[in-house]
């Protein structure tokens, strides 16, 4: 296994009285794709949102245990959440591009980071769009509304936008669940490309997708981490009965 990028120790999370995550300890390796699978409400998205502290935005959330990114506890008091999120990009279930042009969407994060130089911004737009494998489709219409793109293109543009701050980790929360098979295929190819440079954590409902794109897979059930191993092991020879039942479609 490669170096550990994200490490949680005995992480539990509560929404008010309700416990959503129970005592989760896991290591997520650097520059690999880690997939979270499990039925709805199992806590996989919640866990994803722990990593960039998006749960902070919901009131009444309490966390115990430790979350380390590059060995630093991100729930320590002296952590700047805004700065943290600049290092951890996020792609959401549905495209949430701003109603601005393609160009403006990409430069949004770089400009709030203080980059004003026009040629530098142009360079960022070109490299990130190329990284997200969408440059050829949009290079002639950078100044058109981003919302004029198709659903699949919009989602890849969201990925490009997340890459524009040069994060080290990209979190993806069911990025292809609202897309057709061809667009999904493109996203999966893209994930495959991106893992050379980024640590990717992806939540998915689609087990074939997890099997196709990920190196390691974690199976969550009712707020617990049931099994976490290499993807091949999980899908061919799971050690827990619950995992086997889930991946063979017996429940969930």
């Amino acid at each position: 296994m490669k170096n550990t990028k994200i490490l949680t120790e005995e992480l539990s999370l509560y929404y008010g009285e309700k416990q959503a995550l129970n005592n989760i300890s896991m290591q997520i390796p650097e520059k690999q794709v880690t997939a979270f699978i499990g039925p709805s409400g199992c806590g996989k998205s919640t866990y994803l949102r722990v990593i960039n502290r998006m749960n902070d935005l919901i009131g009444n959330v309490r966390i115990t245990g430790k979350v380390l990114v590059d060995g630093i506890d991100i729930y320590e008091k002296d952590i700047d959440v805004v700065n943290l999120r600049k290092h951890i990009g996020m792609v959401f279930q549905k495209s949430n591009l701003f109603p601005k042009t393609i160009y403006e969407n990409i430069i949004y994060a770089p400009t709030i980071n203080g980059i004003k130089d026009k040629s530098k911004l142009n360079e960022i737009v070109e490299t990130t769009l190329k990284q997200a494998a969408i440059w050829n489709e949009v290079k002639d219409r950078l100044h058109e509304s981003a919302l004029s793109l198709s659903g699949g293109q919009q989602q890849r543009l969201c990925i490009a936008r997340a890459l524009a701050v040069q994060p080290e980790i990209v979190l993806m929360d069911e990025p292809a669940s609202a897309l057709d098979p061809i667009s999904t295929g493109k996203i999966e190819e893209l994930i495959h490309e991106l893992k050379q440079n980024y640590t990717i954590v992806i939540v998915t409902h689609n087990m074939q997708q997890a099997a196709r794109v990920s190196d390691r897979t974690a199976f969550f059930y009712l707020g617990e981490l049931i099994e976490y191993d290499s993807t091949t092991k999980i899908f061919t020879n799971p050690s827990k009965k619950q995992t086997e039942d889930y991946i063979t479609g017996r429940f969930g």
Partner: protein, 315 residues
Amino acid sequence: MNFQKKNKDLAGSFFITSTKVLFGFLVFILFLILAKITYEGIGVVSLEFIFDEPRNNMTEGGIWPAIFGTLAVTTIMVVLAVPIGVFGAIYLSEYAKDTFLTRIIRTAVNNLAGVPSIVFGLFGLGFFILFLGQNIDEILGTGLIWGQPCLLWASATLGVLVLPIVIVSTLEALNSVPKSHRDASLGLGATKWQTIKKVIIPQARPGILTGTILAISRGVGETAPILFLGAAFFLPNLPVVDLCIGDYCIPMINPAEQFMYLAYHIFILATQSSNPTLTLPLQYGSTLVLIGITFLLNITAIFMRYKYRKAIGRI
């Protein structure tokens, strides 16, 4: 299988027909009012009528002081009320937690919109003139300037009156920005204020503008609240003062002056003039101008909303 119509939906068609008739009736009434005013007023309205001052005991001449006063009062009203309303709404929507206190504030804002406008007038008299104004005069020791009815307090009172309109429409505009856009911005490492400034306000702008213009057109049409607050019966000279820096002077609205007000002027012409029959054409003319101003403002609101929505790609 039988796909033919059996029972007609009687209750439904009765409802639709009666609604149509009632709406037709409403539109007809509105049409009647507009037609009568336009028919009687169109002959009176001319450039001279608009830019002249009332003459001969207000039975002749134009209405320029009233138009100018209306514009002056509403301008200051906007300057006072819109920033407070917009920032208040941003605070309520984006920063304030859902506590007992903020719920009371929200309820109060909504109820404020339902308070009769004459009550605002009395409030303005009591709070702005008798309390604020007189205290200011006492502290400055300059004699009676702010402790009497004047343009500033009329604007401030109308500002309080239209505040709920600005707040409610801004709140609606802010709420219409999807949560996913906030998540996107925060997820990219933007601060809350950057998110508000660069993502939320640009999208809410059409709604905020619409609210502002509706507030202006409400303010333009109000009569009751300014009765005690400096609206003058007849005052041919404009509330203007020259603001001089060295030798260079620019005319500015003088907030300490009294003023004429279009809506109030119509009321005066109709009820208080020495000869209400003689002023009848002037009443129609003034009313037509007033309706014209509010109509223009509303059209501007609709146009701006359309333009901004198109610009942000919602149409």
